[in-house]
Subunit: 249 residues, 2 copies
Amino acid sequence: MKSVKENISAIKAYNAADILKSTVLFSNIDDDLFRLFESEAIIKNCSKGKLLFLQEDDAEFFYVIASGWVKLFRETLDGEEAVVDVLNGGHIFGETAIFDNSIYSYSSQIVEDAVLLMLPLSLLKEKIEENSKLSMQMFSAMSRFRRYQDKELEHRDLQNAPQRIGCFLLRLCKSNVEKDITLHLPYDKTLIASRLGMKPETFSRALSRLRKETGINIKGSTIKIDNIEQLSDFSCSACSSAYPCEDMH
Amino acid sequence: MKSVKENISAIKAYNAADILKSTVLFSNIDDDLFRLFESEAIIKNCSKGKLLFLQEDDAEFFYVIASGWVKLFRETLDGEEAVVDVLNGGHIFGETAIFDNSIYSYSSQIVEDAVLLMLPLSLLKEKIEENSKLSMQMFSAMSRFRRYQDKELEHRDLQNAPQRIGCFLLRLCKSNVEKDITLHLPYDKTLIASRLGMKPETFSRALSRLRKETGINIKGSTIKIDNIEQLSDFSCSACSSAYPCEDMH
């Protein structure tokens, strides 16, 4: 743990309370319990490329992301990588290991420099068992994630590749802004392709088609969207939710 | 509820205690609590084709399947059907509505004649909040379902269509039998195709290829598998779990 503590001085800008408050899990719990989690939290600075843990590792901690991007993935028997998810600030990961025999069910790697908050899984497990407010928040978070996975599966089946990229872009937009939006792709295109279940070459072709269909403007990793309605009409027609939707994270 | 009670005489073979015991949720809970759920349970006989509830309906009950098959689905804005899941005996559905503002997040329809047990969601919610053993069982069930959804997403991305059908067949096999297995497809092929995220024509072609690759024998809805190893080698090479796997339901 020494290396973790040495890092703390470099990341003073983040405090545990703010990071904890950014997640659904720790909103709406008793002050005493909140302060306990706050006092046990370790803040960690991680560079792009770092592997945090591997699938099947014994799980000691769960993580809250303060900033940056983290990839969760698994390897198939013939060596392909399956991207489970790519998460950013406000998301937690590793927490369900408490219900999975304390084993991580995926590997995790930093894909853009990140600041993470770590907490012991044993503490979470103990408090969930004894505190019904916390356990209801945990249910709420898990149920939200279940709806998100449902929707992801639906998209794999019913949306074509350009629609799926359109959906990915819509999720990066702030829902209260409708015109002249400029976005930057948050991590590299190869990973976005994997995250959306596409080969890189499919992704390139699909992005070109999306541009033709919706009039978005693409330069490198910068995307300009003049008319969000045209994009949402195109992508959300093959989805069971309308834009802006609540089921995505 | 009258029509429900009238049906009870026809389905005497099923008793509430046995159905409840068949699910993870009600295993390992206190006797008093088990008897309370047992006493509140309504057993219902449902014919193929019946719609149980629609997406966005107010949710009053959750269901445990004693026998038969139930399809959970959603409709996209342009009228396509997205099959969320197709479930059989021992599975529950509708239960997560207690964390979703008491609204069902999908529609449900009987696809093969079924016997269901119904319980009030309000009772489940109340007992989960006050009984930590029950809430831990609920977490366990949700976490298992999360791993299952993870795996489904992985398969959509990395398994080809014949491998996905092979995986579907492997899940119908009893894991302790290795040779001379005869299976019957549990519901019609069009629905199996939707369940696996394929068009019916893709399904037919993929089934033919699966036969060539693995030597399985197909006649109508009867499948004979002489050598399960050949089938599992073919399907599970593109998966992060080996056969027999624990993450599928």
